[in-house]
């Protein structure tokens, strides 16, 4: 019974004890690193297999249809059918494409999606590498995607792929700023950049103290991943595929895996930073429940993102960049300033939290009012108001 209470950690210990019987010390470390590496790299692939099914079902129900239901009960093997189809497609490389760069781009993007999983806290003492700069590492790995996108766009030897890559880079760079500002607010409140430390500091989940930071990070991360309504990068119904239009077969598969791996990782980060990660009822007494709560919270955020995808229309590029710089950045900055000021006041912690929550609601109210007025001005300019009709 005691073994099951801390199941995953005990399994790891038994495994290490077993292989130490016939391997030297460095062999044990090497084998453990390889095993953990394989598990973490499999996370994007796992995410793709399960989340594509979930997405098609969820969006199908939102659009009042059933979604895939032929391949297996409720269509759960649809992803495997898609994978097989992708694997057996012909691998086409454009005529004067830059071959090494062309082949390297999907690997880099999928690699960045996999590297994110090294710092995810699944439970107490279940983390790949508890870096001192965990959240900064996440942002840095996200910025590798920027270079990989330019590589893909340029190496395709295709004007439209290149322009698509430029737009993607503009979007990624613009939305890094509110993302980092929101993360900085959470780091200020938690007092540490370690992912484990942030989870352990969440006596009450941070979404109840810093809703503006949650919204800022959520939208900025959705834009970073290229998720609707920010998905003009691929815009399946408009510009075919943007920067990876020339990729076919397994290379397109890698982009696909990277997208869903990023989606899953971003949801996991949101769950860690704002929803309390692996915390939950009885998680302290039974640490093996930690990963369960973590997965549940992550799936909740994934469902929220899919819900948004099925409901909201797509942004134009200028609307999207204006939203980042004119709305998210000032709101996140104001939030950061307010939290920094409140943390310096000599008040007990719960009073500080209530003050922060009040400041956040004020920021939300002001932002909503200003946005409403701007929308009315815009509608009047284009004579869409009822009075002009």
């Amino acid at each position: 019974m005691d073994y099951i209470r801390d199941f995953f950690v005990n399994i790891a210990r038994s495994w290490t004890a077993w292989i130490s019987t016939f391997l030297p010390d460095w062999g044990v470390s090497l084998v453990n690193y390889i095993v953990v590496g394989i598990i973490l790299v499999l996370m994007p692939v796992l995410a793709t297999l399960t989340l594509t099914w979930m997405e098609r079902k969820v969006i199908g129900r939102i659009q009042n249809r059933i979604g895939p239901n032929r391949v297996g009960p409720w269509g759960i093997f649809q992803a495997i059918a898609d994978a097989v189809k992708m694997l057996i497609k012909e691998d086409i490389i454009p005529d004067r494409a830059d071959r090494p760069v062309f082949n390297l781009a999907p690997i880099l993007i999928a690699g960045a999606a996999g590297l994110l999983w090294a710092v995810m806290p699944f439970g107490r003492r279940m983390i790949g590498a508890d870096l001192n700069v965990g959240v900064l590492y996440i942002v840095a790995v996200g910025s590798i995607t920027t270079v990989a996108v330019i590589m893909a766009g340029w190496a395709s030897n295709n004007k439209f792929a290149l322009i698509g890559a430029f737009r993607v880079v503009a979007q990624l760079l613009s939305y890094e700023v509110p993302m980092i500002l929101s993360i900085a607010t959470v780091v200020l409140l938690a007092g540490t950049m370690r992912m484990m430390g942030i989870v352990e500091a969440q006596v009450i989940p941070f979404i109840f103290i810093l809703p503006v930071a949650f919204i800022g990070y959520f939208l900025a991360a959705a834009a970073e991943v290229g998720r609707a309504p920010f998905d003009l990068l691929e815009a399946d119904s408009e510009i075919v595929a943007g920067y990876f239009v020339e990729y076919s077969g397994l290379k397109f598969g890698w982009f696909y895996i990277a997208e869903y791996g990023n989606l899953f990782a971003v949801s996991a980060i949101t769950a860690t930073l704002f929803l309390g990660g692996w915390r939950g009822p009885f998680a302290n007494a039974v640490p093996a429940l930690g990963p369960l709560y973590f997965i549940i919270k992550t799936i909740l955020v994934v469902f929220l993102l899919m819900w948004i995808r099925g409901t909201w229309p797509r942004f134009r590029i200028d609307q999207m960049l204006a939203f980042a710089w004119k709305v998210l950045v000032p709101a996140s900055l104001a939030n950061l300033l307010w939290v920094a000021v409140v943390l310096k006041l000599p008040l007990p912690a719960p009073v500080q939290w209530i003050l922060m929550l009040g400041g956040n609601l004020l920021i939300l109210f002001v932002a909503a009012t200003l946005l409403g007025r701007a929308a009315k001005r815009d509608a009047a300019k284009h004579s869409l108001t009822p009075a002009a009709v």
Binding site: L131, V133, T146, W154
Partner: protein
Amino acid sequence: MQQVMFIVLSLVTLAAALMVVIARSMFRAALWLVLTFFGIAGLFILLHAEFIAVAQVLIYVGAISTLIIFAIMLSRGVMDPDARRFNDQWGVVAGFGAVLFVLLAAVVTRTRWPVALADVPADAIQRLGGDFVGSYVIPFEVASVLLVVAMIGAIIIAREQES
């Protein structure tokens, strides 16, 4: 183990830096530069400066490499892979390069570098932040002013002419 990692990282960094200079296509040279930046980030990690390593990846690979690649793409005639790589003065330049190498090697190997033998403190990041607004506040503020000036300049240059 540390020796092995250091040798591997240094070789990767130096080889990538060499390829930056002798690559035929400028775009590939920029990509080799990205690999150099990764190598340097690895060297920072060997020195227990994780914050600086991650900041290196975030700033250099994420932003500065993108800027360099855009600058290469937007300059005319720079991307032609069939142009001559070296002009006629390469002999003189190689000579001066060798002299500079000998000078630098002599200086680097003979200086007594002040190396701190203590371990990196556990709260290095807090101390870094404290120093930014403590003893190094003036360079910090001057750098902020410089960044604001650069942003304003970029906006003015890229603004649509409202005539």
